[in-house]
Subunit: 430 residues, 2 copies
Amino acid sequence: MSTALRVGVAGLGTVGAATVQLLAGQNAMLAARAGRLIEVTAVSARDRRKNRGADLSQMTWCDDARELAALDDVDVVVELIGGADGIARDLVEAALAAGKHVVTANKALLAHHSTALAARAEAAERVLAYEAAVAGGIPIIKAQRDGLAANRVLRLHGILNGTCNYILTVMRETGRDFHDVLEEAQRLGYAEADPAFDVDGIDAAHKLAILASLAFGRAVDFDNVHVEGIRHISPIDLAYAEELGYRIKLLGIAEDGADGVTQRVHPSMVAKTSPIAQVDGVFNAVAVEGDAVGATLFQGRGAGAGPTASAVVADLVDIATGRGAPVFGVPASALLAAQPAPMDRHRSAYYVRLMVTDRPGVLAEITAVFRDHHVSLEAVVQRARDPHGPVPLVFTTHETEEAAMAQSLARIAGFDFSLEPPRMIRIEAF
Amino acid sequence: MSTALRVGVAGLGTVGAATVQLLAGQNAMLAARAGRLIEVTAVSARDRRKNRGADLSQMTWCDDARELAALDDVDVVVELIGGADGIARDLVEAALAAGKHVVTANKALLAHHSTALAARAEAAERVLAYEAAVAGGIPIIKAQRDGLAANRVLRLHGILNGTCNYILTVMRETGRDFHDVLEEAQRLGYAEADPAFDVDGIDAAHKLAILASLAFGRAVDFDNVHVEGIRHISPIDLAYAEELGYRIKLLGIAEDGADGVTQRVHPSMVAKTSPIAQVDGVFNAVAVEGDAVGATLFQGRGAGAGPTASAVVADLVDIATGRGAPVFGVPASALLAAQPAPMDRHRSAYYVRLMVTDRPGVLAEITAVFRDHHVSLEAVVQRARDPHGPVPLVFTTHETEEAAMAQSLARIAGFDFSLEPPRMIRIEAF
């Protein structure tokens, strides 16, 4: 057995602590699988006194994580600090420059800087691995890059944020509203004190941009991800979805089509019977459609200490055994340029909910607008009657262009009988 | 870019032809991903004149597949002949002996001889890859071995045979009986002319034994897989399952417990809402439960030319890039001995259906038998009344020991009011 792989861990939050514990606790099993010992030789965190559930006494302690990049007895730096810039980025760049491999769970860093980082890793002939950055414990990076290597990926879609999926699941099951369930999720530790990153779709967009790069062999293009979060989803929409045979999920969807690459994160209605509709609670799932393999679906826990540490340590086993691959499946120099497809040309079916005054003529005015913009309606649901208050008016459309829908809704919003902003949710056919 | 990886393909049926087509058609994409060209230099099949949908004119033709092992311009032999012994085994052994890597889709060969083959591959320092042998296009071998390498696997279960899943799905959806649907599956090409291998569970058992070896780090132990097929599943059982909140699936289940390793393939009732219950038709799925990652599920097409070729070519990309791993995740010498848990000690909940004469006292006699064997009943369903013919009598039980259930059913079968053999289906809680 060759010499041990020596690891420096930056960040000892729940994931970092779980990683150190896993490497210590499964030492022998991992050595058998990796062909050599994997041992943590150095760590860095803010508070030296905090109990991490592991014996750190034999490890070098760095108050500044960037010091890990300079340590002689570190072969791999594990970056679990987070953030697109600052210490995390400094550390990763310094580690690669110092000839160390890097394992990171940092989706923000990769979404913003991965093309440059991939080039640095390649120039240094070092591995930059990031299984933990997308979909937690689901080995979706290796599945796409290695397992589906024979495929041209046509399209992928996924539930990439467990916080949103948890909130939408509880809202559907209980009829409670967004803010109520968000507060509960915060109490349970499923949502951050500042939930914007999750509920506004940014976290999912980071992950989608990474998956799309790997899938289509193109440079990461986070700036062109169309992003909508779940703040506007109301119990009434979940109830209508149920009635119409759909579930509402925050999906990340990427497609490499004739117009370029579409990348979008938004609430989506999917048929109740579709595989992705069954994925509830904090679980994530990624569906990849390849030209040879057809439809595949990978699901598991998208966050949490154990699942994320599982992904981090799998990357370490890969490095220990010498299994490697270009960061995005092909050499950085071979990555195609980003080629964003214009979102206003995107075609979709839509669910639209209006809150209107209940008086004669309203339906005629609305349908005239849709007609003017060539939006073909599939169904209209108008049931509640209430001359004193707003009543919901729900439409579903056949496939139409995003721009036509946007223009229609802008006009409808301007009518005096429109009492609330129109709500629109895209309907996806998976 | 280094020299091309040269491939010899043995067997040009649908999978072999699709493999040759894929390697030719995606030549450039695969070279970018693999870091070198992958080219087919030699092929072998029975009929030289048959059109394979690819240009074979530049390839060496071998009438006897075993000749591929001796060709100088072949680095990897792809074995797609099938069968546990005979030419397939001769070829794989000869190829490894000649210092060639091997990629195979042959589950029967691996189920019977893989421990010896793994040792040979290791001694020769060559790769023996078999992604295509289990669950077709789902990259479950790499997912388990690489993606979940940080986990001690506690349990796995899967739908491992698409033919059975298709038949059970159509039976449930249409109410038609087994033989009727089997005939249709044969006409559609989803089932072989001799369906025994599939419908009796042997094919699923081969795959389960391979997955269990990889999961638990133990020598493949096909002989100790408990196997039951789906011939006895009748529309009435599917209807009762539906009513009781279950779906019937042919599952392969493996668990490494205190008593040893349980490996079993049999029809199983699973809650309608469980992820595995949603996997219908020709799709396969494998659920792996790891100590760090928790529950994961991988699904996709389990057979067919495209999905299987996808898996074969992914193995070739691994070999081309130098990504390798021990055949069963750890060195052959480190594999633990098989340690089968006795099936009669297995504990499960059960569904039991009897066909009995509709007369007073029957229920008392049956429940007395269950009482004698300490089988605790959860529910009894007796609805149809027909003094002239057999009526179904359905029980579900709490968890009980397999031996107690077998003894109970043997006694019940002996009563004169038992008009058909009792049917028993295990109920799994996933």
